[in-house]
Subunit: 205 residues, 2 copies
Amino acid sequence: MCNNGVVPTESSRVRSMNETRDRILDVALDVLGENPDAGMGEIASAAGVVRRTVYGHFPSRLDLVRTLTERAVTEMTGVLAEVNASDAEADAAWVAFVARLWPVAHRYRVLLALRRGEYGEAIHGLLGPFDELLADLVQRGQDGDVFARHLPADTLSQLAYGVVFAVADSDLPNGAPGTRAATITSLLTLGVPETRAIALVGDQP
Amino acid sequence: MCNNGVVPTESSRVRSMNETRDRILDVALDVLGENPDAGMGEIASAAGVVRRTVYGHFPSRLDLVRTLTERAVTEMTGVLAEVNASDAEADAAWVAFVARLWPVAHRYRVLLALRRGEYGEAIHGLLGPFDELLADLVQRGQDGDVFARHLPADTLSQLAYGVVFAVADSDLPNGAPGTRAATITSLLTLGVPETRAIALVGDQP
DNA sequence: TCTCCATTGCACACTGCTGTGCAATGTACA
DNA sequence: TGTACATTGCACAGCAGTGTGCAATGGAGA
């Protein structure tokens, strides 16, 4: 015994396994992003692996999707909590949120599609904490009179979040040029006046 | 021979058949609205008919969906063309459009979900004329400086249209109370200032 | 060298859907 | 009364996907 923990037990062995596992997850995100109905075989092929191997890492398709969702929630709540912690005005916080969330959330955009359908309930449950943080931010904006009140905060937050990705989808896959337009549009939907929205976004990407 | 045409040939026979056919279409809209992945069996049961009978009227599932879409396009373009014909300002026209389209489009909301997925291409093609009319209206608004220009008219029109139904979905199935909020939100997304939007909607439903 | 084990390749059973064929059955119409 | 036909009930073939079992294979570690 030359180690007292569990980490460096079989360095190359488990590393290779984790690489496979991570590759499957990464590729699954891409494949499902293009076609939410893609099967395990399709994902396996894209990952350069046999279908049987995928089942070795994820007992069922639901397990795979669940793992993907957990990953997404971890990353996205991290960003949102950070933005929420600042004492900036809610509309400025929203701009920062979209700017920082964009790259990660764009990868996980498939979860929006998967929310309706077979695994809808499971995904919805896991996304709960994120949804709450989002609603909190919008609520703060409504309390501070920077966001409109024509809809309750939880509905409005989901809507504005959806608008961001609706713009993304209608854009070239290379989402870069759309970030600015998406941010402005979501601000408008939140009830921020156009002049203020443009001023907030400034000359960002 | 007591008739010279083809219409009143078998009054009760064909009427009964058309009733069955229409009932299947109506019910299919409801069933697919709740679950876009519903099968032919599910639709048949809901229509009080055997699966085999549905295939008697519609050779394939795609035929059913296509018929549904054609129906929707006919009704919706009718409403939109009428609104477009008036010489009202574009934002006022949009309000009238949403108000008049709401009942019919709400029934056909499933087409938005079906647009992604197996029949996406077919539906998209049939919806083309409607999409163009919609883009024309938004373009008119942009030209007249009542709508924002942060997005091209075709993208913005789709987005605003989607917002209307996103609000509807997050509402009670009884969509009545949401019409006002949905109209206001879509106007905001189009870049109409909040005060103007509220003034336009007035004390409508 | 020998052992462990992730991966592979193939087999299989199961489910759920689509679309078709065909012989009843019942009802409107001549 | 008899015919036409929409509907039914059932059977069947096909397809696509899921999840499992099991014997090879091959590379990394003891």
